[in-house]
């Protein structure tokens, strides 16, 4: 009955990106990319430790990761990294009150100044740059 007691929307509501525009999509992607990058980072630290086993150990691990699947995962990591970075800088500036508009007497239809074109452009730029970086990564990894 806890759900009824508090009537919280829960994780489903938190991750639902469809109702509140691109800002909510960015919020979700920021979380997912953050978690993805942390998982990759832990894996990367573990992966690189195989060098302690000498050339044989290193090459064995490379054989596991330098595959088509490994390259595809790395391309997704590149995209997550670029999105998280660009959107992170946007969010950080927003958190400091930069580019969120100026307080003013609101007029109908009350379009919120904080949800402005600059921030939307920032989000779209982060997505586009992530896609470009991912394609460049794929070209580098599969082009050889």
């Amino acid at each position: 009955m806890e759900n009824h007691d508090e009537n919280k929307e829960g994780i489903g509501g938190m991750i639902n990106p469809r109702r509140y525009g691109i800002e909510r999509v960015a919020y979700l992607l920021m979380r997912l990319s953050g978690l993805g990058l942390l998982a990759y980072f832990i894996g990367h630290i573990y992966e690189t430790s195989s060098i302690l086993k000498g050339q044989v150990g290193w090459n064995e691990f490379l054989a596991l990761t330098q595959t088509n699947e490994g390259h595809a995962i790395l391309a997704i990591v590149i995209a997550m990294c670029v999105f998280h970075t660009v959107n992170g800088i946007r969010v950080m500036l927003g958190h400091g009150g930069v580019g969120v508009g100026k307080p003013a007497r609101p007029d109908y239809p009350y379009i919120p100044a904080s949800q402005n074109a600059r921030h939307k452009m920032g989000i779209y730029s982060a997505i586009v740059l992530a896609a470009i970086a991912m394609m460049y990564g794929l070209a580098v990894m599969f082009g050889e």
């Binding site: 978690l35 630290i45 990894m141 050889e144």
Partner: protein
């Protein structure tokens, strides 16, 4: 520690990591991707002290930023004194563990202990 101090560290580690990770990634592109991952090249990277130092700093920065980010997400998912303490100390322990594990690799390879 006050939450504002923790979050200032969160932002600071993010900005510093962006700069250093960019250098780390660009180093892969000074030669072909496959070549940069060859055993001898990787060992040479680790044994070049400034680069090893940079790897160590990246390790610390990303561990702090990543595990604090995880802490924030977990704190928002569920509440309760015991749970929140477990999340905070758990993330701190995981962060220290990862830094120790990664540092071991960097230090041992840098000192030629392989």
């Amino acid at each position: 520690m006050r939450e504002s101090i923790i979050m200032k560290i969160h932002y600071g580690t993010a900005l510093a990591a962006v700069a250093l990770v960019a250098v780390h990634v660009l180093m892969r592109l000074t030669q072909s991707f496959a070549e940069s991952l060859e055993y001898a090249n990787v060992i040479a990277n680790y044994q070049f002290l400034p680069y090893a130092g940079m790897l160590e700093i990246i390790l610390i920065l990303l561990s702090i930023h990543g595990f604090n980010g995880l802490r924030v997400i977990l704190l928002e998912l569920k509440q309760g004194k015991t749970y929140e303490k477990a999340v905070s100390y758990g993330c701190l322990a995981a962060m220290i563990g990862l830094i120790a594990y990664g540092s071991r690799t960097i230090i041992m390879v840098n000192m030629g202990m392989i």
